[in-house]
Symmetry: C3
Subunit: 152 residues, 3 copies
């Protein structure tokens, strides 16, 4: 089943891939590597999850934010490659959680990204993961993810 059909089945859709806001690229392809810029939990041009997990958002909302970041990453990949056929495996996800100094369950928040990738890409979801906490992120986003992808 295609990623697109699977998304539909899950009641999900890819947001419009946000254009670059400055002198950088959403994606850079080099040989069989694809580097993505940091993805925020945005849809329809709006930040959907902002503030700090542990104060402004709970863990469950953080999970949803991480899922939306992943949908944006997939939208960027699709925009760059046309479809997901040439994705061999996700290599690495850096997951950054905007959180209070007391909140240390970033991995549970970032499961929002990892679970979605697994659901959609199956064996190709791969990814080493680096979970980190931050006291602030761009545009007060609750979560930001960066991704490196291996291509066939």
């Amino acid at each position: 089943m295609s990623i697109e059909s699977r998304l539909e089945e899950l009641g999900l859709s890819l947001p419009t891939a946000p254009p670059p806001a400055a002198n950088y690229k959403p994606c850079v392809r080099f040989g069989n590597l694809l580097f993505l810029s940091g993805q925020l939990p945005m849809a329809d041009g709006e930040m959907k999850y902002s503030g700090r997990v542990g104060k402004d958002l709970d863990e469950e909302a953080g999970y949803k934010a991480a899922k939306l970041c992943a949908l944006n990453a997939l939208a960027q990949i699709k925009k760059e490659l046309g479809d997901f056929d040439s994705v061999a495996t996700i290599l690495r996800v850096d997951g950054h959680v905007n959180c209070t100094p007391d909140f240390d369950a970033m991995p549970k928040v970032l499961n929002g990204t990892s679970d979605l990738l697994k659901e959609l890409l199956g064996d190709r979801a791969g990814h080493a993961r680096v979970a980190l906490g931050h006291h602030q992120l761009p545009l007060n986003a609750a979560v930001e993810i960066a991704m490196t992808v291996g291509l066939r």
Copy 2:
């Protein structure tokens, strides 16, 4: 001399490589690149160094935490590859230090990782290094390192 013999000579041993806790992989191999998930200062399933350097731990304890993170990274590499023969060079280490807002000697803490790699791998220790401070890390770990490895 093998890495294993050198470890023994130094009175060190590799911890058991922690299994992935969710839908990600400890290591992803792609061509001659190996991407590792973030490694924490754990041994025997327990966090050995937690809290903030500059308050809960001093620089020396942070150094030991960074060394233990590196041992966990090596344990993951060994579990993935069987031994260290196919390691050409460590490419990059991202070192994340959980610290107070006043503590800015992250490089000294992360020498715990770099010194161990040099001691064990010699010319193959390589690695570009990125030293960063964080107000919190997963499970309140004192240090987290991520690593990318080049394979023969």
Copy 3:
């Protein structure tokens, strides 16, 4: 026009590439990939921009700090490769801003890096970008950037 001539035209010069301060490398080349260590806003062996953006520095000073980090990165590349002829494209820039908890315009600060790369490298400036906030950075630097480069 060469990068060096373009720098001169812009009234800029490359700082001396700082030597590694410990057991790591400023650059690691592996095949057609070049990994750089984190670069700080230093010149003549001195930190030129320190403290937190949003308190000790304003956005404009942060922009200049990010530009100086990029000049240091270019100095490291030149020291490693001799010139810029073999740079195919910048693959990824991780931009870390030392900031107050209220400051969330890291992307505007990091445009100091992206604008300079575009100005000097044109189509080869490429780069996916990851913008992040930190409560502290090494040596109280205002900005730190890491870079991965694709070579011909």
